[in-house]
Symmetry: C2
Subunit: 146 residues, 2 copies
Amino acid sequence: MQHIRVIYPGRTKEGFIKAGISKYLKLLKPYVRIEIVELKPGTGSRQQVIEQESKALLKAAGRPFYLLDREGREFSSEEFTDILRDITEMDFVIGGPFGVTEELKRAALLRISLSRLTFTHELSRLIFFEQLYRAMTIIKGRQYHY
Amino acid sequence: MQHIRVIYPGRTKEGFIKAGISKYLKLLKPYVRIEIVELKPGTGSRQQVIEQESKALLKAAGRPFYLLDREGREFSSEEFTDILRDITEMDFVIGGPFGVTEELKRAALLRISLSRLTFTHELSRLIFFEQLYRAMTIIKGRQYHY
């Protein structure tokens, strides 16, 4: 079974986002082993938070890792599925509320953009898990459960 | 106060999506009058549903209206905000689970794509309301409340 780690700083706080993520994790269970790694959120000024969190994310991520980044490359759901098709394990990194350093961006194997729109980091998590579930239904040839 | 109508077929069923939409509607209340128009969902085959729903959406929408369409034009949140800045009233149409007809697409003043990714129609509603709230905080110069 494929093993995907999803790494981000801070627990998900917003109730409806937590509920949505739980739903997709449950739906993903038969298809892929998902491990969520919640790192300690940064403290201090905006810049300090970005630097602390990026350093911790880089340390926690195995290489190669994929980074969610609004300015990264955009994919259709089918193209996103192709990324997942042949990997046995992969780390996905999602930045915190203020984003990440250029250093972390450069270290990523691939920067994936969910949209040209700016989402909160928590909404990005939800959308990511939904796309992961959609990709797995395509790979396994199973029906998408609404 | 601006008046925005959001028109779509069928009630929102998924619990976490309903909770998220409620949150953004509450946050939007001081800034804009939002009217949600839930039309009767189509019945029959996939093609019949698409045709019935598209016809009903076209009838319900005032002109000009904006249509959410994955294959439409993509915007950044700032560009999306600019669309909303000067309008006094506007209808946004969001298609149902199977999409809409070419006729409805042609009738739209503008087709707005949230992402190249495919989302469920209910997730699109949630993302749309979040972007509407984000846009309003930018227009009114207010802090975004997480």
